[in-house]
Subunit: 186 residues, 2 copies
Amino acid sequence: MRRTAKRDFPVSDVRRFLEPGPIVLVSSAWKGERIVMTMGWHTVMEFVPSLVGCVISSANHSFDLIRRSKACVINLPTADMAATVVKIGNTSGRSTDKFAEFGLTAEPADEVGAPLIAECYASFECRLHDARMIERYNFFVFEVVKAHVAATPKYPKTIHYRGDGTFMVSGENTTHWRRLFRPGML
Amino acid sequence: MRRTAKRDFPVSDVRRFLEPGPIVLVSSAWKGERIVMTMGWHTVMEFVPSLVGCVISSANHSFDLIRRSKACVINLPTADMAATVVKIGNTSGRSTDKFAEFGLTAEPADEVGAPLIAECYASFECRLHDARMIERYNFFVFEVVKAHVAATPKYPKTIHYRGDGTFMVSGENTTHWRRLFRPGML
């Protein structure tokens, strides 16, 4: 897997990548320990502040690291990383270093202690914005405080999970219906 | 647009259609009034009960109908319905009958007062499960209580919104990486 050069991206526009529903890799760190998990249950919740809601099972060790550090990085892997994504999803609990185990490069983030994953197309640094739904639903509301996005391609080829071992790979991107939108409804 | 024949589908498996992040049409009804809106901010939250979290802006008239009726139907449109989906997304506020306006067929649901949309690939009848996040985030937690899904194709061609008038159309479905999953992690 190649590392991807990235540039800063407006945090209020992360819907471009998250709203279509891709599987993501969530990295986190706490007291010298770092970890990465696969996650598919997330939704954009607001533009400003840039909010993303995510279900992170309390069965995952990441749950503890994220709750304690009050932060994570949501990384967007591309289809060529699918085998690695699945292998990460297979594992649970502690290990020495999942980054080394899965051949991922951890890079320091700007705003949070959790690492960026250099091989991913994009990385969104997140701070915990609302913890009130964690106890009941394992639901974390994060604010994206910094976004790093690859300069090219404009739209990455992503994988979208359907359960039962089946992925939908993202298809064509089109502005075909753009002329039908009223300007305020884009 | 053709009406799609549907069969009952296990509510705990609706992730197959919602987790990849498609744009959906949300129908609702209250005191003789019915409405439909376009929605893209949603996530699966639990298998049993089958929970789906959705952001529905309080600027939409649907917000009131759903909050009062404590129910809605999440309908899954296919790519051939994209122009209609955009036109529905353009409108806000009241109108006489959005179903007639957009050429959609309202069919009675089994468990809720909100209508199914016959032209959609699937319809998920939802009851409001948790209203505690509505005030703060316009975030509704629904329980899917009944699912109607077209018999064919197994996976529909759906549209996934990126903002700015751009859609990603769902691509290939593959079990290519299925062999890498541990059985408990499917």
